[in-house]
Every structure is written in C-alpha cells, then in structure tokens.
Amino acid sequence: MSKVIVYCEHTGGNVRRASLEAIGAAASAGAEVVAVLWGEGASVAAASAAGAAKAICLTGDASFSPDAVAAAVTEVIQSEDAKGFLAAASYRGKDLCPRIAAHLDVSPFADCIEFMAAGESFQVKRPWLAGKALATLGTTGGVLCATTRLNVFEPVDGPGPSDCSEHAVSAPAKATVTSTEAKADAKLDVNEASVVVSGGRGLQEAANFKLVEDLAAAFGNAAVGASRAVVDLDWRPHGEQVGQTGKTVAPQLYVAVGISGAIQHLAGMRTSGVIVAINKDAEAPIFKVADYGIVGDAFEIVPALTEAVKAVKAQS
C-alpha cells in the first residue's frame, strides 16, 4: 500500500474539515495516510486527523514561513518514502503544494475532484478551463502532489492517530508571515459552505444584498456569494466572487438570485449538488443549469423563500 502525506491545517485544536477531506481522498485510493501538521496546537489537533495512521508535527519557529515549511514537508515525504502528497485546495494548500512539487522536481495538480490508485502511484481528475473540461492525469514523477477541491471528498469516519512524532523545520525562512489580521466575523467561506446563496446585478444596489444575507442566515450553514458584476461595482468583496476569475464552489445547494448565468459564472458553480435560480427573465442562461427555477422578481420571491426556509428549520 502506497503512502500519502497529507498536510493538515488546524484551528482551535481540530484539523479543519477541508484537510479531513484531503485525508478522505487519500483513503479513497486505498493509501496509508501520514498527517503532517504545523504550528501551535499541532500535537493536540493531530488526534483529530481521522483516517491517518500516524501524525508528524513540524516544530521550530513560531512564525510561519511557506518556503521553510514546504522544505520540511518535502523532507517528511522523502523520509517516509511516500508516493503521494495531498493538501486541501485552500490558500495554504495551494501555496505549499507547488513549492513541495518543485523540491521533488515533479509537476503538481491543483483542485482535484478525484484521486485514484494507479499501481504504486496515483491518478487525479481535475478541471481545465475552470471546469469546462475534466482531465484525468497521471504522473511519471516519483511523487504525485495535488490539492483537493473543498466539499468534494468525504472525511474518514474513524479514529485519528494515537501519537505524534516531531520533525524540525530547519531550512532558513525566506518569507515570513509577520502578522495576521483575523477576520472580523467568523463568516463561512464560499468554497467551504454546504449552501451558497449568491446575488447578482439583478439586486440593483449593494444594500439589497440584505435579502441574500437573510436567506443565507435562514439556511444556517450558508455563505454569501456574488457575481463578478457586483464585485466590480464594489457591492461585494472579491473573496465572495464565484466564477472563472473568482472561486469555484461545489456546495450541496447553490441559490443564484438575479444572476444571468454568464459562462464565466457557470464555470465556478456548475458542479454544485442542486442549483436553484431566481431570475425575472425566463430566458436567462442560469436556468439551463438550474435544477429548480422560479421566474419573477427577486424582491418579492426571496423574502417569501427566507420565511419558508425559516419555518422548515424551526420544525426540524
């Protein structure tokens, strides 16, 4: 059984769900998983790395250096003789993976939606052109390095590793994170949420996003997304933009309000589980990918939908 090293991000003493999904991806290919964690609280969080046979905590400088950590993870991959490296396709994972790949002199794969065994090695399936096509890829390199798209793989339902060994980060830091300004609120990120409610130019002005926020709040586990048009108008931050030049999301439920469904927007959300569209134009392209559509005025429909969702949630 080939080994896969999974870089696990953690907060508050627990491995993040996105990283648990990356372990799930490795496990789905039958690999033996070694979790690698960095930073304060790593040894505590390691126990929650469900599906990992063992954990290795990186120790050293208190401030994070992407290049020094990438070098240390590379050492672990080599000393464990692993044939794969995975991380979540989060900021951190996407930043580290190509650095590690360069150390190993292999070509990395971002945002994978499938991870399969192929002899001693692995194969991945990943989007090209923001998901307009899907490529199945293997490697002739010694280690397959990849990041896993959020919300695609299932975490392993099982125990975490019982102990955590240590590996020192020894490479000199070239770039160092000197401060982090935490987010004002603990808002869910669009590519992490299981429900995304997105608004577009049809909402007419920034203040009307209250409708979308209220609907997201009614669902409870939802994030607010946006089309590029409203990000360009400065109604919403770029972090919420869904599409080819924003984030690619695959929630269980995607609700598009007043969004026409331009090809660049569809690229970012068409693999969502269920798509609902609310648009006053029955000919809007968004209806072509929607499972359920309501034609009409968002200002009338969305408040009614919010109340109805609240009523359902109150019952359950």
């Binding site: 790949a101 070509s107 990395p108 052109l129 160092t176 000197t178 300004e181 034609v295």
Partner: protein, 251 residues
Amino acid sequence: MNIVACVKRVPTTEAVAKPAADGKGLDASEFQYMISFYDKIAVEQAVQTKEAAGSGEVTVLTLGPSSGTKEIRECLAKGGDKAVVLTDDDWQSRDARSTAKALVAQLSAMNADVVFMGRVATDRDNAAVGPMVATYLGWPCVTDVIGLEIADGKGSAKVETDAGIETVEFQLPAVITCQKGLNEPRTAGLKGIMAAKKKPLEELAPEAIENQSDVIEVALPPARKEGRIVGEGAAAVPALIDALQNEAQVL
C-alpha cells in the same frame, strides 16, 4: 530596478471546451486568445513598481507561440519596456514543471530584482508556476498578493487567507503572484500602442523539457440533469420548498 512580468496567452474566458480528437487535450481550433486575467495585474504591478522606483526596466517574459506577439505587444503598450518570448507552439500542453523550468533557465540569466506573475493562469488553473519558479531559484515567493510595498531591497505583502489578512515579509529578489485587488490594470493609450511597435521583442528557443504529467483522458463534465421551472413569483415558493425537501433532500 530590474523587473520581470511573466504572462501567459490563454483562451478567452468565453471559450467553449471541446476535447481534441485523440481525447488527450482540447480542440484549440476555435479558441480566441487573451493575456490571462491575473497576468494583466502582474504587468500593471511591474510598471507601477518601476514608476515608484523612478527608474528601471520592465521585461515582459512569456512562453508561447511565435504567432502570439499581438498580446505581448499589448503588454508593451501598457508600459513594458521589452519582451522576451520563449517560443513553443505546443505551449498549451506543457505541464507546470516544464513551463517553470523553462522560465527558470531564462530568469537565471536576467538578474531580476522582482518577478511578477498572475496568481493563476485561467486555462489549466494550476496556480503552480510562480511558487515553483521561486523554489527552483531559491527565492522567496508570496502568492495571491493584494497589497505590496517594496523598498530598500525588501518587501512586505498582504494576502487574504482563510484565517484573515496576513502580512508577509521577504527580501528581494522575489516572485510575487498577483490577485485581483492589487491594482487596476490600465488600458493602453494610442501613444503606448505606437511606442510598443518599436520596443524590442526577442524570440528565443526554450529548453526542451519533457512533460511529466501524463494526460490519460480529457472529457466534458457530465451534463446536468434536466431541470425545471417550478413556477412564477412568490407563489412558487411552496413548490420549491417541497422539491428541496422531498426530491433533492437538501433541506
């Protein structure tokens, strides 16, 4: 300052994907091309960095087809001083490693203080070449930068991560990959367009490096199941709730 902006010619975002006949790539016959969205931000940042320093030179570096000079001239019209094109008509099928290594071979001879790239090229979406180039060169790299200050051989960058806004400090030379929000790319004026025609554009053959990533199959994503309009106006809300609860079971 010696500044390099790396750009890639990619299919426009309107492009429709069609697998090639052999199923190992995309049929490019109907593609129109553009400089990748984020690479335009990289060019702008390079020009602004030179302007702030008061002197220096911006080289636009690309690996692409010999016929792709129109898009490269556009970068020169927006303030690049000269261009180096590593010509490879098969540029679209290069993997991240072979592209990075060809750029590294060129950059090693260029003596740059800072190299700007887009955060991701909007064709293969790997977001890999910037951090790979930096790693091969042994340079610091900051990815997805939304704020940047460079002075006295040092830099400080802001990036948005899942945790919040991080400040990252580093020494030059460095590779910076640019995220939307870092700047507003300028449009080229007539004067710039005229001047660009006379700016030096050097074509070189890149090192031949075999791909490591092995394309097994390229296919279209499975078509979505046919959907339906559940009704019109607020009156349709109960039907939608019913469908979400009982049919789709997501509520």
